[in-house]
């Protein structure tokens, strides 16, 4: 790039950051829906929902930023990926609708209706997470593109790897959910989460291992990205840190720690995310369209960048303030009194 500023590169960074914020933040509140089947006590379920009630809407806004930012900065990628993943995206949206309204409705419904919205919350969380995993899987697998438009079939996303990714993401969000609840709850519910976190952490490590073997075996370009010299030297800390942080989680949930397991889970998810970025860079529509080919005109990128760089710090500040206002344990039977 002979221009002073590589706008597509900066935008790839912003969208990558936005999506990671989404995965982390909506990850733990989707995780709470995923954990619902393992907690039957109605009081505990209310506590679980109350840990995220004031913040879930902000968490989901990062997904809207991801979509809007992709449209603004990489309209070709937005149109190809969303067309290719049409059915899973619609399924994800429907899942998010069911669980989003359940936040409000389950407290509004009478006792007879409440189980309906508990099921909508659980089912919606599973469907949304599974769909996101399937979309991620099909993204890694790549899309058929002809003349800048999607040219594959309506079910191209339906592959063994896509299905595996769907289940993998459920496990990842479940880990974020358990560790978040260790942070935000106490006594029986917290103990239950400590015991659930162990098998989930093992399962996530296994999932990451499978993805780490599957993708280079299926995609030679990913294999050469990781295993050629000197890349292997630079990238080897990633898998090592994955293993270390997993065992740190297993160690931490067995001790009287509250925030540490969640922080470690965030690190683990961040490492997994970094690994995928290393595999796919610099493609925004794998395997063929790079961020520079899919980018908007510089007039669009520059105009939006000014706003993004100025406003995102403020968003982070008042989001942090909102979390600060609702800090501390959510006690059973109390909610936010």
């Amino acid at each position: 790039m002979d221009m002073g500023i590589d706008l597509p590169l900066i935008w790839a960074g912003i969208i990558g950051f936005g999506l990671m914020m989404y995965v982390i933040m909506d990850g733990f509140d989707l995780g709470i829906g995923i954990l619902f089947p393992f907690v039957q006590d109605p009081g505990d379920r209310d506590t679980m929902v109350n840990t995220v009630a004031p913040v879930w809407d902000g968490n989901e806004t990062w997904l809207v930023l991801g979509g809007a930012g992709l449209l603004a900065a990489f309209p070709i990628a937005y149109s190809v990926i969303l067309s290719a993943a049409y059915l899973p995206i619609i399924a994800m949206l429907m899942g998010l609708i069911c669980r989003g309204v359940a936040f409000e409705f389950r407290f509004k419904a009478d006792e007879a209706h409440k189980p309906i919205w508990d099921r909508a919350f659980t089912g919606g969380s599973y469907v949304a997470t599974f769909s996101q995993g399937v979309i991620l899987g099909s993204f890694i697998n790549g899309f058929s593109v002809t003349n800048g438009a999607y040219s594959g079939g309506p079910l191209d996303w339906l592959t063994p790897f896509g299905i595996f990714s769907g289940f993998g993401l459920i496990i990842a969000y479940a880990l974020l959910g358990t560790t978040w609840l260790i942070l935000k709850t106490e006594s029986d519910l917290q103990t239950r989460m400590r015991s659930l976190a162990r098998p989930i952490a093992f399962a996530l490590l296994a999932t990451i291992a499978v993805v780490s073997l599957w993708t280079p075996l299926a995609h030679p370009e990913i294999s050469s990205r990781w295993f050629s010299f000197p890349n292997i030297v630079f990238f080897s800390p990633v898998p090592i840190l994955v293993v270390l942080s997993t065992f740190a989680i297993l160690w931490a949930v067995g001790r009287d720690t509250h925030a540490l397991p969640f922080v470690l889970a965030l690190i683990l998810i961040f490492l997994g995310y970094t690994g995928l970025a290393i595999s796919l860079w610099p493609n925004i529509v794998p395997p063929s369209i790079s961020i520079w080919e899919a980018a908007s005109p510089p007039q669009s990128l520059g105009f939006t960048l000014v706003g993004a760089l100025f406003i995102i710090p403020f968003i982070l500040i008042y989001t942090a303030w909102a979390y600060h206002v609702f800090r501390g344990k959510v006690k059973a039977g109390e909610g936010y009194h």
Partner: protein, 475 residues
């Protein structure tokens, strides 16, 4: 039906459902800001009680707006990928600015607004409410800038088959934007005012004439009386703007096919525009009035539909009628507002049963008029998705009719089930009223700072809340 028709039905269905919630969100957020401001200024408990009451309704409505809006942000790409690939350079940045400046602002302060009454001080809480209200208005500004650019595009070039913005001020402040924004924000306020007024009327008709309920009706009717005439003026100006930039839309709205030499344009009050026969059947006409309204002169002419090629004509049968539904309801709002002023002067506002019945019947009128107006403007700009630049048929993704049928069916079932229940819960809250203290009413946050329910909308019946409320009554 073709995949294009199905894709249009899907977008029309999901966006029509969606727009109802933001319209009420925009109106209620500002109403709540006014209520909290009045509470802080006067310390009159009526305003505080009304604030807590309407914030419960607001929370349910907001959640439905968020989740139905999420669908819209992705539907552009799933269903209209050629449009986004072509025009994403303009609509994408506008949508991104909406997310950055509005959605995050609303979401960030919503938690404090709804759950933070006792967590932060009164000034900070009021600030949170103001930020949420500001967010709703900023959101309307960006999305209407984007929609208006698609209606009256300017400030761009087409390079290699894609839109490249060259002047962002021209893109944002395109010719129809100021009119559309004002018209929509007023419509949101009117819809909310009629909704709030109908809620008060419902209680008054049941003999529940408490100070908060009378205040609700009074505030709502001041708003309707002031904004209904203003909205008619703005609508008139919006119409003149449309005549200038989208004359085919006006011709279709009026069922006007051709000018007769030497005659002015009549106003067709009612009739049946027949697209195939190129005429408006059974037309009931008022001479000169069409010229008068659309050109503000007695002999001005407007283009007829026949001056446009058949493939460039919007469906007059639909927009002729949706336009008349909107205008007719607008006139009823004007009448209701005037009536309320008369009754207020006669000191009969809270006791006239006939008026209260009318106010109740007009509860959904704002939302119906708003939907009818949007159908008019969106169907009226067909066959274009970006006016004069890209046709709707060239914008649609390559999905099979089967795939869209499946998702459309699922959307219809899900929306009616989920949002139907949500509206029922809203009605349940409203039916309880602001004075209800029998299991679910407002604790007094001033004297009992620890009895605020976990969520302002949470019913007392939930096991979680029950102990704290029995404590309250024991104290």
């Amino acid at each position: 039906m073709s995949a294009l028709d199905l894709a249009r039905i899907q977008f029309g269905f999901t966006v029509s459902f969606h727009i109802l919630f933001p319209a009420i969100t925009i109106g209620l957020a500002s109403y709540l800001a006014v209520l909290e401001g009045l509470w802080l200024a006067t310390r009159d408990a009526v305003y505080r009680d009304l604030y807590h009451f309407w914030s419960k309704v607001f929370a349910i409505n907001f959640a439905m707006g968020v989740v139905s809006g999420l669908v819209m942000a992705y539907e552009f790409g799933t269903n209209w990928s050629y449009f986004t690939a072509f025009a994403g350079g303009v609509t994408g940045p506008l949508l991104t600015y909406e997310v950055l400046t509005a959605f995050f602002l609303e979401a960030g302060f919503l938690g404090v607004m709804l759950f933070g009454w006792n967590k932060v001080g009164p000034g900070l809480h009021f600030f949170a409410t103001l930020m949420v209200a500001l967010g709703t208005l900023v959101s309307a500004t960006w999305i209407l800038a984007s929609n208006s650019w698609m209606q009256t595009p300017q400030g761009f070039e087409i390079v290699n088959g894609r839109v490249v913005p060259v002047d962002w001020l021209k893109v944002i402040f395109n010719p129809s934007f100021p009119y559309r924004l004002t018209h929509m924000v007023l419509a949101s306020f009117l819809s909310t005012g009629l909704f709030v007024g109908a809620s008060a009327a419902w209680h008054l008709l049941r003999g529940r004439s408490s100070p908060p309920i009378r205040t609700m009706l009074s505030m709502a009717m001041w708003l309707v009386a002031a904004l209904a005439p203003l909205q008619i003026l703005v609508g008139d100006q919006h119409g003149l703007n449309t005549l200038k930039y989208q004359p085919a839309k006006i011709a279709a709205m009026e069922g006007h096919w051709q000018n007769t030499p030497g005659e002015s344009v009549p106003l067709i009050l009612f009739g049946w525009p027949d697209m195939a026969a190129e005429t408006t059947r059974y037309a009931l006409e008022i001479p000169y009035l069409g010229s008068l309204i659309l050109t503000h002169s007695l002999d001005g002419l407007i283009p007829g539909l026949k001056e446009f090629k058949p493939e460039d004509r919007p469906d007059s049968t639909v927009v002729f009628w949706t336009f008349r539904i909107m205008v007719g309801l607008g006139m009823l709002m004007l009448a209701l507002g005037a009536w309320s002023l008369w009754l207020r002067w006669k000191k009969d506002l809270f006791s006239s049963e006939l008026f209260l019945r009318a106010a109740l019947a007009m509860g959904p009128a704002g939302l119906i008029a708003l939907l009818a107006g949007w159908v008019t403007t969106e169907m009226g700009r067909q066959p274009w998705v970006v006016y004069g630049i890209m046709r709707t048929k060239d914008a649609v993704s390559n999905h099979s009719a089967l795939a869209i049928t499946i998702t459309l069916t699922a959307f219809i079932i899900l929306y009616f089930a989920v949002f139907g229940m949500g509206v029922a819960y809203m009605m349940k809250v409203i039916a309880k009223g602001p004075d209800d203290d029998s299991g679910g009413g407002q604790p007094d946050p001033e004297t009992d700072p620890h009895v605020r329910p976990a969520r302002p909308l949470s019913a007392i019946k939930t096991p979680m809340d029950a102990p704290s409320f029995s404590n309250l009554r024991g104290e």
